[in-house]
Amino acid sequence: MLEVMVNGHAQLVPAGSTVADVVRRWRDCPDGIAVARNGEVVVHSAWTGTEVAAGDHLEILTAAAGG
Protein backbone atom coordinates (compact mmCIF):
# COMPACT_ATOMS: atom_id res chain seq x y z
CA MET A 1 0.00 0.00 0.00
CA LEU A 2 1.05 3.59 -0.61
CA GLU A 3 0.16 6.66 1.35
CA VAL A 4 -1.00 9.62 -0.72
CA MET A 5 -2.67 12.88 0.23
CA VAL A 6 -6.11 13.32 -1.34
CA ASN A 7 -7.83 16.66 -0.78
CA GLY A 8 -5.77 17.17 2.35
CA HIS A 9 -6.46 13.70 3.82
CA ALA A 10 -3.90 10.89 4.07
CA GLN A 11 -5.16 7.83 2.17
CA LEU A 12 -3.74 4.34 1.75
CA VAL A 13 -4.09 3.01 -1.80
CA PRO A 14 -2.85 -0.26 -3.34
CA ALA A 15 0.50 -0.07 -5.13
CA GLY A 16 -0.05 0.41 -8.84
CA SER A 17 -3.20 2.53 -8.35
CA THR A 18 -3.81 5.07 -11.07
CA VAL A 19 -5.31 8.52 -10.80
CA ALA A 20 -8.54 7.03 -12.18
CA ASP A 21 -8.58 4.45 -9.35
CA VAL A 22 -8.12 7.13 -6.69
CA VAL A 23 -10.84 9.34 -8.19
CA ARG A 24 -13.26 6.37 -8.25
CA ARG A 25 -12.69 5.77 -4.53
CA TRP A 26 -13.58 9.40 -3.90
CA ARG A 27 -16.59 9.79 -6.17
CA ASP A 28 -18.61 7.44 -8.41
CA CYS A 29 -19.23 9.82 -11.28
CA PRO A 30 -16.16 11.48 -12.83
CA ASP A 31 -18.34 14.13 -14.57
CA GLY A 32 -17.35 17.71 -13.80
CA ILE A 33 -14.12 16.71 -12.07
CA ALA A 34 -10.54 17.88 -12.49
CA VAL A 35 -7.43 16.47 -10.87
CA ALA A 36 -4.20 18.17 -9.91
CA ARG A 37 -1.25 15.96 -8.97
CA ASN A 38 1.59 17.73 -7.19
CA GLY A 39 0.43 21.04 -8.62
CA GLU A 40 0.06 19.86 -12.22
CA VAL A 41 -3.15 19.18 -14.15
CA VAL A 42 -3.75 15.51 -14.97
CA VAL A 43 -5.95 15.62 -18.08
CA HIS A 44 -8.83 13.12 -18.25
CA SER A 45 -7.18 11.09 -20.99
CA ALA A 46 -4.16 10.50 -18.71
CA TRP A 47 -6.07 9.32 -15.62
CA THR A 48 -5.93 5.62 -16.41
CA GLY A 49 -2.27 5.72 -17.46
CA THR A 50 -0.91 7.74 -14.52
CA GLU A 51 0.15 5.70 -11.49
CA VAL A 52 0.27 7.51 -8.19
CA ALA A 53 3.44 7.42 -6.10
CA ALA A 54 3.89 7.48 -2.33
CA GLY A 55 3.70 11.03 -1.02
CA ASP A 56 1.77 12.38 -4.02
CA HIS A 57 -0.56 15.26 -3.33
CA LEU A 58 -3.80 14.91 -5.28
CA GLU A 59 -6.53 17.50 -5.47
CA ILE A 60 -9.88 16.25 -6.80
CA LEU A 61 -11.98 19.26 -7.64
CA THR A 62 -15.45 20.12 -8.88
CA ALA A 63 -17.93 22.97 -9.09
CA ALA A 64 -19.15 24.81 -6.02
CA ALA A 65 -21.27 27.91 -5.70
CA GLY A 66 -18.98 30.88 -6.07
CA GLY A 67 -18.28 34.17 -7.79
Binding site: N7, D31, V41, T62, A65, G67
Partner: protein, 256 residues
Protein backbone atom coordinates in the same frame (compact mmCIF):
# COMPACT_ATOMS: atom_id res chain seq x y z
CA UNK B 1 -24.49 41.39 -26.13
CA UNK B 2 -21.89 39.01 -27.51
CA UNK B 3 -18.62 37.96 -25.86
CA UNK B 4 -15.89 36.40 -28.01
CA UNK B 5 -18.46 36.08 -30.79
CA UNK B 6 -20.91 34.16 -28.63
CA UNK B 7 -24.26 35.92 -28.17
CA UNK B 8 -25.52 36.17 -24.60
CA UNK B 9 -29.29 36.44 -24.46
CA UNK B 10 -29.18 38.13 -21.05
CA UNK B 11 -27.02 41.04 -19.92
CA UNK B 12 -27.39 39.81 -16.36
CA UNK B 13 -24.74 37.26 -15.43
CA UNK B 14 -25.38 35.43 -12.21
CA UNK B 15 -22.70 34.84 -9.61
CA UNK B 16 -23.74 31.80 -7.61
CA UNK B 17 -21.66 32.65 -4.52
CA UNK B 18 -23.72 32.83 -1.37
CA UNK B 19 -26.70 30.89 -2.69
CA UNK B 20 -28.51 29.06 0.11
CA UNK B 21 -29.19 25.83 -1.80
CA UNK B 22 -29.75 24.28 -5.20
CA UNK B 23 -33.52 24.82 -5.02
CA UNK B 24 -32.96 28.54 -4.41
CA UNK B 25 -30.47 28.61 -7.27
CA UNK B 26 -33.03 27.09 -9.61
CA UNK B 27 -35.65 29.69 -8.64
CA UNK B 28 -33.11 32.50 -9.03
CA UNK B 29 -32.05 31.26 -12.47
CA UNK B 30 -35.65 31.19 -13.62
CA UNK B 31 -36.38 34.68 -12.28
CA UNK B 32 -33.14 36.27 -13.49
CA UNK B 33 -33.28 35.03 -17.07
CA UNK B 34 -29.49 34.71 -16.87
CA UNK B 35 -27.86 32.51 -19.48
CA UNK B 36 -24.42 32.41 -17.87
CA UNK B 37 -23.46 31.79 -14.25
CA UNK B 38 -20.19 31.56 -12.39
CA UNK B 39 -18.97 28.61 -10.36
CA UNK B 40 -15.88 28.14 -8.22
CA UNK B 41 -13.58 25.12 -8.31
CA UNK B 42 -13.40 23.40 -4.93
CA UNK B 43 -12.53 20.02 -3.42
CA UNK B 44 -15.08 17.27 -4.07
CA UNK B 45 -17.25 16.65 -1.04
CA UNK B 46 -18.00 12.90 -1.05
CA UNK B 47 -21.08 13.54 1.13
CA UNK B 48 -22.60 16.15 -1.21
CA UNK B 49 -25.98 15.41 -2.76
CA UNK B 50 -26.91 17.04 -6.06
CA UNK B 51 -24.63 19.08 -8.26
CA UNK B 52 -24.70 22.75 -9.10
CA UNK B 53 -23.67 21.74 -12.62
CA UNK B 54 -26.85 19.68 -13.04
CA UNK B 55 -29.00 22.65 -12.00
CA UNK B 56 -27.25 24.94 -14.48
CA UNK B 57 -27.39 22.41 -17.31
CA UNK B 58 -31.08 21.73 -16.74
CA UNK B 59 -31.74 25.42 -17.44
CA UNK B 60 -29.27 25.62 -20.34
CA UNK B 61 -27.15 28.11 -18.43
CA UNK B 62 -23.50 28.35 -19.51
CA UNK B 63 -20.91 27.69 -16.81
CA UNK B 64 -18.34 30.41 -16.26
CA UNK B 65 -15.68 29.04 -13.90
CA UNK B 66 -13.86 31.56 -11.75
CA UNK B 67 -10.44 31.58 -10.14
CA UNK B 68 -11.70 32.86 -6.79
CA UNK B 69 -9.27 32.31 -3.95
CA UNK B 70 -6.17 32.73 -6.11
CA UNK B 71 -3.56 35.25 -5.02
CA UNK B 72 -0.91 34.78 -7.71
CA UNK B 73 -0.89 34.55 -11.49
CA UNK B 74 0.49 31.00 -11.27
CA UNK B 75 -2.38 29.82 -9.05
CA UNK B 76 -4.95 31.46 -11.30
CA UNK B 77 -3.48 29.93 -14.46
CA UNK B 78 -3.46 26.45 -12.89
CA UNK B 79 -7.03 26.92 -11.65
CA UNK B 80 -8.20 27.99 -15.12
CA UNK B 81 -6.61 24.88 -16.63
CA UNK B 82 -8.26 22.66 -14.02
CA UNK B 83 -11.59 24.34 -14.67
CA UNK B 84 -11.17 23.70 -18.38
CA UNK B 85 -10.70 20.00 -17.62
CA UNK B 86 -13.61 19.84 -15.20
CA UNK B 87 -16.20 21.81 -17.16
CA UNK B 88 -15.01 21.43 -20.73
CA UNK B 89 -14.92 25.19 -21.29
CA UNK B 90 -12.07 27.51 -22.12
CA UNK B 91 -13.95 30.47 -20.67
CA UNK B 92 -12.76 31.80 -17.33
CA UNK B 93 -13.66 34.63 -15.00
CA UNK B 94 -10.13 35.53 -14.00
CA UNK B 95 -9.80 36.77 -10.47
CA UNK B 96 -6.53 37.36 -8.59
CA UNK B 97 -7.05 38.85 -5.15
CA UNK B 98 -4.46 41.20 -3.69
CA UNK B 99 -5.92 42.09 -0.30
CA UNK B 100 -7.91 39.94 2.09
CA UNK B 101 -9.85 42.73 3.75
CA UNK B 102 -11.11 44.47 0.61
CA UNK B 103 -10.75 41.56 -1.86
CA UNK B 104 -9.50 44.11 -4.36
CA UNK B 105 -7.73 42.64 -7.39
CA UNK B 106 -3.94 42.48 -7.66
CA UNK B 107 -3.79 44.00 -11.13
CA UNK B 108 -0.11 43.16 -11.74
CA UNK B 109 -0.75 39.44 -11.14
CA UNK B 110 -4.05 39.71 -13.02
CA UNK B 111 -2.42 41.11 -16.13
CA UNK B 112 0.32 38.49 -15.98
CA UNK B 113 -2.26 35.68 -15.74
CA UNK B 114 -4.43 37.24 -18.46
CA UNK B 115 -1.51 37.36 -20.88
CA UNK B 116 -0.63 33.70 -20.23
CA UNK B 117 -4.22 32.46 -20.53
CA UNK B 118 -5.03 34.52 -23.65
CA UNK B 119 -1.87 33.14 -25.30
CA UNK B 120 -3.08 29.63 -24.47
CA UNK B 121 -6.43 30.22 -26.14
CA UNK B 122 -8.63 30.87 -23.12
CA UNK B 123 -11.57 33.26 -23.33
CA UNK B 124 -10.62 35.51 -20.44
CA UNK B 125 -13.06 37.74 -18.56
CA UNK B 126 -10.97 39.50 -15.92
CA UNK B 127 -12.38 40.89 -12.69
CA UNK B 128 -10.46 44.14 -12.39
CA UNK B 129 -10.30 47.47 -10.61
CA UNK B 130 -12.15 50.49 -12.01
CA UNK B 131 -8.91 51.82 -13.51
CA UNK B 132 -9.32 52.67 -17.24
CA UNK B 133 -5.61 52.15 -17.93
CA UNK B 134 -5.64 48.65 -16.45
CA UNK B 135 -8.79 47.89 -18.46
CA UNK B 136 -7.00 48.97 -21.62
CA UNK B 137 -3.98 46.81 -20.81
CA UNK B 138 -6.26 43.79 -20.24
CA UNK B 139 -7.96 44.39 -23.56
CA UNK B 140 -4.56 44.67 -25.27
CA UNK B 141 -3.59 41.36 -23.66
CA UNK B 142 -6.47 39.78 -25.57
CA UNK B 143 -9.20 39.57 -22.94
CA UNK B 144 -12.66 38.94 -24.39
CA UNK B 145 -14.31 41.41 -21.99
CA UNK B 146 -13.32 43.54 -19.02
CA UNK B 147 -15.14 43.32 -15.71
CA UNK B 148 -14.44 46.36 -13.54
CA UNK B 149 -15.75 46.43 -10.00
CA UNK B 150 -18.36 48.90 -8.84
CA UNK B 151 -17.22 48.45 -5.22
CA UNK B 152 -15.57 45.67 -3.19
CA UNK B 153 -17.06 42.18 -3.55
CA UNK B 154 -20.14 41.67 -1.42
CA UNK B 155 -20.07 45.25 -0.09
CA UNK B 156 -23.32 46.40 -1.69
CA UNK B 157 -21.85 49.90 -1.98
CA UNK B 158 -22.91 50.36 -5.59
CA UNK B 159 -20.77 52.15 -8.17
CA UNK B 160 -18.21 54.20 -6.24
CA UNK B 161 -16.61 55.80 -9.27
CA UNK B 162 -19.16 56.16 -12.08
CA UNK B 163 -16.83 58.50 -13.92
CA UNK B 164 -14.15 55.81 -14.22
CA UNK B 165 -16.71 53.21 -15.30
CA UNK B 166 -17.93 55.58 -18.04
CA UNK B 167 -14.32 56.19 -19.13
CA UNK B 168 -13.71 52.44 -19.37
CA UNK B 169 -16.89 51.98 -21.42
CA UNK B 170 -16.02 54.88 -23.70
CA UNK B 171 -12.63 53.41 -24.64
CA UNK B 172 -13.25 49.67 -24.61
CA UNK B 173 -13.79 47.78 -27.83
CA UNK B 174 -14.66 44.60 -25.92
CA UNK B 175 -17.77 44.26 -23.74
CA UNK B 176 -17.64 45.85 -20.29
CA UNK B 177 -19.42 43.86 -17.59
CA UNK B 178 -19.68 45.56 -14.22
CA UNK B 179 -18.72 42.99 -11.61
CA UNK B 180 -18.96 43.26 -7.84
CA UNK B 181 -20.30 45.74 -5.35
CA UNK B 182 -23.86 46.22 -6.52
CA UNK B 183 -26.44 46.21 -3.75
CA UNK B 184 -29.71 46.99 -5.47
CA UNK B 185 -31.21 46.93 -8.98
CA UNK B 186 -31.13 50.71 -9.57
CA UNK B 187 -27.33 50.45 -9.47
CA UNK B 188 -27.45 47.87 -12.26
CA UNK B 189 -29.56 50.29 -14.29
CA UNK B 190 -26.91 52.96 -13.69
CA UNK B 191 -24.17 50.58 -14.87
CA UNK B 192 -25.97 50.08 -18.18
CA UNK B 193 -26.68 53.82 -18.49
CA UNK B 194 -22.98 54.51 -18.01
CA UNK B 195 -22.30 52.32 -21.02
CA UNK B 196 -21.70 48.86 -19.55
CA UNK B 197 -22.85 45.96 -21.71
CA UNK B 198 -23.87 43.85 -18.74
CA UNK B 199 -23.53 43.24 -15.03
CA UNK B 200 -22.48 40.25 -12.96
CA UNK B 201 -24.42 40.04 -9.71
CA UNK B 202 -23.98 37.53 -6.89
CA UNK B 203 -24.43 38.66 -3.28
CA UNK B 204 -27.08 41.31 -4.00
CA UNK B 205 -29.31 38.49 -5.27
CA UNK B 206 -28.14 35.41 -3.39
CA UNK B 207 -28.04 37.10 0.02
CA UNK B 208 -31.27 39.08 -0.41
CA UNK B 209 -34.15 38.11 1.86
CA UNK B 210 -36.09 36.90 -1.20
CA UNK B 211 -33.46 35.94 -3.77
CA UNK B 212 -35.85 35.08 -6.62
CA UNK B 213 -37.72 38.40 -6.26
CA UNK B 214 -34.42 40.27 -6.26
CA UNK B 215 -33.27 38.31 -9.33
CA UNK B 216 -36.44 39.36 -11.18
CA UNK B 217 -35.87 42.97 -10.12
CA UNK B 218 -32.30 42.88 -11.45
CA UNK B 219 -33.53 41.42 -14.75
CA UNK B 220 -35.93 44.33 -15.20
CA UNK B 221 -33.33 46.87 -14.06
CA UNK B 222 -30.80 45.65 -16.60
CA UNK B 223 -33.40 45.78 -19.37
CA UNK B 224 -34.33 49.33 -18.32
CA UNK B 225 -30.71 50.44 -18.28
CA UNK B 226 -29.98 48.96 -21.70
CA UNK B 227 -33.03 50.66 -23.19
CA UNK B 228 -32.19 53.97 -21.53
CA UNK B 229 -28.58 53.81 -22.70
CA UNK B 230 -29.76 53.54 -26.29
CA UNK B 231 -32.56 56.09 -25.95
CA UNK B 232 -30.33 59.13 -25.41
CA UNK B 233 -30.78 60.97 -22.14
CA UNK B 234 -31.34 64.73 -22.09
CA UNK B 235 -28.38 66.96 -21.23
CA UNK B 236 -27.98 68.15 -17.65
CA UNK B 237 -28.72 71.90 -17.29
CA UNK B 238 -28.09 74.34 -14.50
CA UNK B 239 -31.53 76.01 -14.73
CA UNK B 240 -35.02 74.85 -15.61
CA UNK B 241 -36.30 74.35 -19.13
CA UNK B 242 -40.11 74.71 -19.16
CA UNK B 243 -41.85 71.67 -20.50
CA UNK B 244 -45.15 73.50 -21.24
CA UNK B 245 -45.20 76.08 -24.09
CA UNK B 246 -45.22 79.84 -23.33
CA UNK B 247 -47.19 80.43 -26.56
CA UNK B 248 -50.97 80.62 -26.08
CA UNK B 249 -50.66 81.32 -22.38
CA UNK B 250 -53.88 82.95 -21.04
CA UNK B 251 -53.70 86.47 -19.60
CA UNK B 252 -54.97 85.87 -16.09
CA UNK B 253 -53.27 88.67 -14.18
CA UNK B 254 -55.54 90.96 -12.16
CA UNK B 255 -56.55 93.84 -14.66
CA UNK B 256 -56.15 96.73 -12.15
Amino acid sequence: MAVAGRPLASRLLLGTGGIAGLDVLDAVLEASGSTMATVALRRVDPAATGSILDVLRARDVEVLPNTAGCHTAAEAVLTAKLAREAFDTDWVKLEVIGDERTLLPDVAELLDAAETLCDEGFVVLPYTSDDPVVARRLEQAGCAAVMPLGAPIGSGLGIRNPHNIALICESASVPVILDAGLGTPSEATLALELGCDGVLVASAITRARRPADMAAAFRLAVEAGALAAGAGRIPRRWHAVASSPAEGLASLADPD
